[in-house]
Symmetry: C2
Subunit: 157 residues, 2 copies
DNA sequence: AAAATATAGTCAACTTGATTGACTATATTT
DNA sequence: AAATATAGTCAATCAAGTTGACTATATTTT
C-alpha cells in the first residue's frame, strides 16, 4: 500500500488506518516492556480510573459496556495486578476501583510511548501541521457529538 | 466533553474518537436507510470484493482473520442478500465471492453518506485544512507501516 | 504417469468478551 | 416503616472469533 493509494482513501478509512497504526505501535511497545497482558480497552478504563478511582458503573458508562462486563474486566485486571477494589468511602453498596503501583507504572509508560510516537510524527509532518491536525480532529469530534451526550470514549465500531 | 478537553488529548485518543464518530454516523445513517444488518467490518470486506470479486482466502488476508471466520461472515452476508458465492472460473476448489445488486446498492449508499460527512466537515474546517488533514494522516500511516507488509486494512485494536 | 504435497473451502468444537436476567445488600424516596 | 432504586456479583447465553480435522482439487516431485 503506497502513498498514492492512501491519498485517495476517504477520511473515515484514513482515520481507521491511522488509529490502528498508532494503537498497534503503542501496544507492541508495551508488550516489549513486559505489559503484554494489557489490551487497548484497558487503557480506556485506566484513563477513567485516574486520578481518583471510579466505581464500576462509572467505568461502564465511560466504556459503553454493561456493569457486568466491567466487573469481569476488573476481575482480570485485579488478578494481573493493575487495579484493586476498595470499599467505597460513603456508599456501602459500592466499591471504588483504583490503580495499584503497577497500574500507575503502565500509565506512565504508556504516556512516554505516546510522547515518542507524537515526537516522531512531528519530525515527519512538522509541529505546525501537528497542531492543526489535533485542532481539526478536535473540531470534528466536537461537531459530531454536539447533539449526543457523549461520555463514552471507547472506540467501538 | 467540551472542545477544551479534546484539545488536550493525545493524538491516539483523538484518532480513536474521530474514527469512532465517523464510523458511528455512517452506520446510524445506513440503519435509517434500511441497512441495519450491516456492520462496519462488512464494509471492509465489501471494499475487497469490489470490483471483481474475491476468494475467501483473499478476504481473510485483507481482514486479518481466518478463512473459517470469513466463511461464516459470507454465510451471513449471503443469507442477508448482499453477496453470492460463485464457482471459481479456473480453480474448481475455489469459489469467488461477488456482490449482489443489494450489495452494490449498499456500497453506493455508503459512498454517498461518506461524501455528505466529508462535505459537512469541509464546511466546518475548510477545504484546505481538510486536504492537509488527509495528507498528514496518509503520511502517518505510510510512515508507520514502512517496515511492515500491511495488506490488512481492517482497523483492529 | 504416479505419488506426494499443498491449497481452497467447510464442519465442528472451543474461547473470549460481550450480553440479559436474577439475586443480595445497601440507599433513597414515599 | 414500607416501597422503590441502585451497586455489585453470579449464572446462563450469545456473537464473533479461534484451532483442528476433513474433502476435493491443484501442483510439485520422483
Amino acid at each position: 500500500m503506497n502513498h498514492q493509494v492512501l491519498n485517495n482513501l476517504d477520511l473515515t478509512s484514513l482515520l481507521s488506518l491511522s488509529f490502528s497504526a498508532s494503537i498497534n505501535e503503542l501496544h507492541d511497545r508495551l508488550s516489549e516492556l513486559g505489559f503484554g497482558d494489557i489490551r487497548p480497552v484497558h487503557g480506556f478504563l485506566f484513563k477513567c480510573i485516574t486520578p481518583n478511582g471510579a466505581t464500576g458503573i462509572e467505568l461502564a458508562e465511560h466504556l459503553g459496556i454493561t456493569k457486568q462486563a466491567v466487573s469481569k474486566m476488573v476481575d482480570y485486571l485485579e488478578k494481573s495486578g493493575y487495579v484493586m477494589r476498595r470499599t467505597h468511602p460513603t456508599d456501602k453498596r459500592g466499591k471504588i476501583i483504583v490503580l495499584t503501583e503497577r497500574g500507575w507504572l503502565v500509565m506512565k509508560t504508556k504516556e512516554e510511548i505516546i510522547a515518542e510516537i507524537e515526537k516522531r510524527w512531528i519530525e515527519n509532518i512538522g509541529a505546525e501541521r501537528m497542531q492543526m491536525l489535533k485542532e481539526d480532529l478536535s473540531s470534528l469530534i466536537h461537531e459530531a457529538n454536539e447533539d449526543k451526550s457523549l461520555s463514552k470514549v471507547r472506540p467501538v465500531w
